[in-house]
Amino acid sequence: MDLTLKIWRQKNAKAKGKFDVYKVSNVSPDSSFFEMLDTLNQQIIEQGNDPVAFDHDCREGICGTCSLYINGRPHGPKRGITTCQLHMRSFQDHDTIVIEPWRARSFPIVKDLIVDRSALDLIIQAGGYVSVNTGGIPDANAIPVPKIKAEMAMDAAACIGCGACVAACANASAMLFVGAKVSQFALLPQGKIEAAERVQKMVAEMDRLGFGNCSNTYACEAECPKEIKVTNIARLNRQFMKAKVCAEKYEL
C-alpha cells in the first residue's frame, strides 16, 4: 500500500505545532498501524531527520499507553480496539491519513503526538482505591459476591486509562473514566464502605483538573477501545447524588 500521512508535529509543550505531510510506500496490509509508523520513522531517520514521537508500549491493546486521533477518531476507525491493534487492512491503498494527538485542556502536549495524561492518575489518587493495607485480610471467600455483580464490576474495571473518552468528548469530560472506577467499587462489597467519600473526592478532583461535564452525546462509549458503557456514568451520577443527599459529611 502507498499512503499519504498528515501528521501533527510539535517540538515540545511550548512550541507551535503544525501538520507535516509524509509519504510511505510498500506498506503491508497485515502490518499494524504502529508498524507502518515504524517504517515511516525508519525512513525519516535514514534521511537524518527527527522521527515522529508517539506513545506506545505493550502493542497488544492493554497497557493504555497508545493514543492518536486518526482521521478524526480516537484509536482510529474500528470500534473496540486501541491504535496498536489497528491494522493497515482497515485502510485503502492511496489513502490520506490524518494523525493528531489527543486534544483536551487537561492533556497538555509533550511532543508531536504524545500528551501528558497524569491528570488521570491524580483522579485515581484522589480516591480510586479501597483503603486496605497489606496483610491481615480475611479469607478471600469470606464475603461471597454475586456472579452478576462481579461480572459488572469487571466490565467497568476493564478500563485501560488511555483517555480516548476525554479525547472523544466535545467537553473533554472524564466522566466515563471516573464512572468506570466508581462503578467497579460501588458494585463490590469491598468497595461499598467508602463509596460516598470516594465518589465525592474523585469528582472534585476531576473538576479541579479542568475536565468538562457530560452532556450525554455518548461519544465516549462509541470510541472507548474497551467498550465501557455509559451506564457507568449513570451509576456515577446516582452514587454522587446519593452521597450528597444521604451520606455523612466529611472534610474534602
Binding site: K11, N12, S28, D30, S32, E35, D38, Q42, I45, E46, D50, P51, A53, D57, C58, R59, E60, I62, C63, G64, T65, G80, I81, Q85, H87, R89, V110, K111, I114, D116, R117, S118, L120, I124, Q125, A126, G128, Y129, V130, V132, N133, T134, I137, P138, A140, N141, I143, P144, V145, P146, A150, E151, A153, M154, A157, I160, G161, Q184, Q190, G191
Partner: protein, 646 residues
C-alpha cells in the same frame, strides 16, 4: 572464588519462613520515617513493594519509564495467578504447589524460596480481593479457578483474560493511595541508568528524565530493582516495546552477580511471525490450552496444501489430525509445561508438518469445546483473546483454528539474590522477574503474577527491615557527594559517546539483526557449535553498533532513539552473557535445551551430577571474561527425578 551466601534459615523447610519472620530485626515506626527507599519499576512487584513499604511508614521514591505506573507490562499478563487455596477440594496444598513449581522448574530453583512462595500465595488472593479485584466467581458467589500447565489441580484464579491488568490495577490503586498520603513520591517517565555505590552499599540511582533529557540523581538508604525481564534482547518477544534490562545490567556492571542468564522461556502459544516489518509478538494465554486442542496434519502433503492455502483446516478429517501433545503426553495432554509444549511444536514444524504460510505454526482448535460448552462459554472465558487474535490475523477463531508458534516470553534468569532478595551488593534488592530465584529453568503458567506480588507485598517488606535496622543512624547522603557526581558524569559520557557515533543505521535495524542472531543461535534448541558461532559474531555486531549507529534529535529533549540506543547497547552485552551461560551448561533443563543432551524420545536430559547449581556471573571489566561462581543446589524434600508428564 567468592562464596555465595544464600542466607537460607536453618530448620525444616516448612518452618523456615515463619522462623525468619519472627526473628528478623525490625525498624520502629519513628525510624522508618527517617529512612528512604528507592523502588525502580511499578509492575506487580514494584508497585506492591512501594505501596506496602509506604504503608509501613518508610519514605519511598517510585520510578517508572512509562507515563503512568499503571502501564507496566505486568498488565499484559492474561491467564491467571496460582495459589494453594484448595477451594476446588481437588487435593491442592502448599506442599503440592511448592512441589509442582520445583518440578516445573526442572530442579534448578532454590527449595526454600519456592516453599516460601507457595506459603504466601494464599494471602495474595485475600489481599487482591480486599482491594476490589473482580476475580471470576461461581454462581454461589465464591471464587472460580481454572487449570494451567504443569499442574493436575485447578488452582489458578483469574479475571477473564485480563488477570495481570486487574492485579496491577489493584497494586496501582494501593500505590496511588500512598502517593496521596505522601509516603510515596512518584517519578514517571524516568529511565534508570545506574546504581550509585558508596562505601560498598547501594545508596542511590542515576536516571534520565525522558521528557527533558536531564540526568537526575536520587538518594536512598536502600535500592529495590523491580524492572522485569530481558526477553527483548531477542528483539521479537512478547514483552512491551520499552521493557529493558538496563537497570539490572548496570547493577551487574557495578558488582551484582547475574544468574542463569540462559534460562529463557519460550511460550508455546504466541501468534506466529508474519513479516519482516514486525515489531513484536503477541501472546495468546496458556489458559486457552484448557479448552483448545493442539494439532498438525498427520500427512505432510496436507500440511503442504494448508501452507499454500489450497485447503482449509476444516478439510482435514479427524483421523488425519495429529494431536501430538495428547499422543506424546497422555497424562497432561495439552496442559504440559511451556518448555515441553514449545519443543514439541518446533519438532513437528522442523520435520515438515507445520502450517501457516511460513510453515512455522500449529493449530489450536476450539471446535470441540465450542460444541461441548457452547460458544457463549468460550466467549466468556476468552473473549478478549479471540478478539485480539482476529485483529492481528484477520481470521475468526470461533470458526477456524488459531495458528500459534512459540516465542520468547519470560526470563527465569536475572540478578542473583539471597533468601532476603538482596543482590551481592549490600542494600540493593531485586524482586519479581528481574531476579532469578523462584522458577528454576522453567516457569509454570500463572506463577509470575504470584511471584511478583509475593515479593512485593509479603517478602521484601520483612527482609528489607532486617537490613535497614542497621541503617537508622545513616544520614541522608546529599546527591552532590563525589560518588553521585562521578556516576552522573560517567552516564553523561556514555550518552554523549552514543550520540556522537553519527553513523548511518537506526537503533532498531541493529537490534533486529542482533535479535535474529540470538534466536538462531540461542533460541529453542541450542548446540555447542551454534553457541560458539553466535558468540563469535558478537564482536562484529558491537563494532557495527558503536561505529555505524545514528541517533537523530537532541540529547536534552524527548528523544526515544536515545532511550532505545542505551537499552540496545546493554542487550548486546547481555546477549553475549546469555550465550556464554548456555554454552557452559552442558545439560538440557527446562527452557534450556541443548540438542546434544536429550533422551531417545527427544526429552530434555538433565545432568544433576554436574549441573545442579545456579550460575552466578561476576563482571570483571570491559573486554575481560566474567567469572562464573556456583551456588550448589541441594534438595532435601523434593528429590530430583526425571521430569515426566507422560
Amino acid at each position: 572464588m567468592t562464596k555465595l551466601n544464600s542466607k537460607i534459615p536453618e530448620g525444616p523447610l516448612a518452618e523456615k519462613w515463619t522462623k525468619y519472620k519472627s526473628t528478623c530485626k525490625l525498624v520502629n515506626p519513628s525510624n522508618k520515617r527517617k529512612l528512604e527507599i528507592i523502588v525502580v519499576g511499578t509492575g506487580l512487584a514494584g508497585a506492591s513493594a512501594a505501596a506496602s513499604l509506604g504503608e509501613q511508614g518508610y519514605n519511598v521514591k517510585a520510578f517508572c519509564y512509562q507515563d503512568s505506573p499503571r502501564r507496566a507490562h505486568s498488565i499484559a499478563a492474561q491467564g491467571g495467578i496460582n495459589a494453594a487455596k484448595n477451594y476446588q477440594n481437588d487435593g491442592d496444598s502448599v506442599y503440592r504447589l511448592f512441589y509442582d513449581t520445583i518440578k516445573g522448574g526442572d530442579y534448578r530453583a532454590r527449595e526454600a524460596n519456592v516453599y516460601r512462595l507457595a506459603e504466601v500465595s494464599n494471602a495474595i488472593i485475600d489481599q487482591c480481593v480486599a482491594q476490589g479485584v473482580p476475580f471470576a466467581r461461581d454462581y454461589g458467589g465464591l471464587l472460580d479457578n481454572r487449570s494451567f500447565g504443569g499442574a493436575q489441580v485447578s488452582r489458578t484464579f483469574y479475571a477473564r483474560g485480563q488477570t495481570g491488568q486487574q492485579l496491577l490495577l489493584g497494586a496501582y490503586s494501593a500505590l496511588s493511595r500512598q502517593i496521596k498520603k505522601g509516603t510515596v513520591t512518584l517519578y514517571n517517565r524516568r529511565d534508570m541508568l545506574d546504581v550509585v555505590i558508596i562505601d560498598g552499599k547501594a545508596r542511590g540511582i542515576i536516571v534520565r528524565n525522558l521528557v527533558t533529557g536531564e540526568i537526575e540523581k536520587y538518594f536512598g538508604h536502600a535500592v529495590v530493582l523491580a524492572t522485569g525481564g530481558y526477553g527483548n534482547a531477542y528483539f521479537l518477544s512478547t514483552n512491551a516495546m520499552g521493557s529493558n534490562a538496563t537497570p539490572i545490567w548496570r547493577a551487574y556492571k557495578k558488582g551484582a552477580f547475574f544468574s542463569n542468564a540462559c534460562f529463557t522461556q519460550i511460550h508455546p502459544t504466541c501468534i506466529p511471525v508474519h513479516g519482516d516489518f514486525q515489531s513484536k509478538l503477541t501472546l495468546m494465554s496458556e489458559s486457552l490450552r484448557n479448552d483448545g486442542r493442539i494439532w498438525v496434519p498427520k500427512k505432510k502433503e496436507d500440511a503442504e496444501k494448508l501452507r499454500k492455502k489450497e485447503i482449509k483446516p476444516s478439510d482435514i478429517s479427524e483421523e488425519d489430525r495429529d494431536y501430538y501433545l495428547e499422543r506424546r503426553y497422555p497424562a497432561f495432554g495439552n496442559l504440559v509445561p511451556r518448555d515441553v509444549a514449545s519443543r514439541a511444536a518446533k519438532e513437528r514444524c522442523d520435520v515438515g508438518y507445520g502450517v501457516g504460510h511460513t510453515g512455522l505454526a500449529v493449530y489450536l482448535d476450539f471446535k470441540e469445546s465450542i460444541a461441548r460448552l457452547g460458544k457463549h462459554v468460550i466467549e466468556e472465558r476468552y473473549g478478549n483473546l479471540f478478539q485480539m487474535y482476529e485483529q492481528i490475523i484477520d481470521e475468526n477463531p470461533y470458526e477456524t483454528p488459531m495458528m500459534i508458534y512459540p516465542a520468547i516470553h519470560y526470563t527465569m534468569g536475572g540478578l542473583w539474590v539471597d533468601y532476603e532478595l538482596m543482590t551481592t551488593i549490600p542494600g540493593l534488592y531485586a524482586i519479581g522477574e528481574c531476579n532469578f530465584s523462584d522458577h528454576g529453568a522453567n516457569r509454570l503458567g500463572a506463577s509470575a503474577l504470584m511471584q511478583g506480588l509475593a515479593d512485593g507485598y509479603f517478602i521484601l517488606p520483612y527482609t528489607i527491615g532486617n537490613y535497614l535496622s542497621a541503617e537508622i543512624h545513616t544520614k541522608r547522603i546529599p546527591t552532590d557527594a563525589p560518588e553521585f557526581v562521578q556516576a552522573e558524569n560517567d552516564i553523561k559520557g556514555q550518552l554523549d559517546k552514543l550520540k556522537n557515533i553519527k553513523g548511518k543505521q537506526s537503533v532498531d535495524s541493529i537490534h533486529k539483526k542482533f535479535g535474529k542472531l540470538m534466536w538462531e543461535h540461542c533460541g529453542m534448541g541450542r548446540t555447542e557449535q551454534g553457541l560458539k558461532d553466535g558468540l563469535s559474531q558478537v564482536p562484529s555486531v558491537k563494532n557495527e553498533f558503536w561505529n555505524d549507529l545514528f541517533i537523530p534529535g537532541e540529547m536534552n529533549e524527548f528523544n526515544p532513539e536515545i532511550e532505545k540506543a542505551s537499552r540496545v547497547a546493554d542487550f548486546i552485552e547481555l546477549g553475549e552473557l546469555i550465550m556464554k551461560d548456555a554454552l557452559q551448561r552442558k545439560e538440557s533443563c527446562g527452557g534450556h535445551f541443548r540438542e546434544e543432551m536429550q533422551t531417545e524420545d527427544g526429552e530434555a536430559k538433565r545432568d544433576d551430577e554436574n549441573f545442579a547449581f545456579v550460575s552466578a556471573w561476576e563482571y570483571k571489566g570491559e573486554s575481560v571474561e566474567p567469572e562464573m561462581h556456583k551456588e550448589e543446589l541441594t534438595f532435601e524434600v523434593a528429590k530430583p527425578s526425571q521430569r515426566s508428564y507422560k
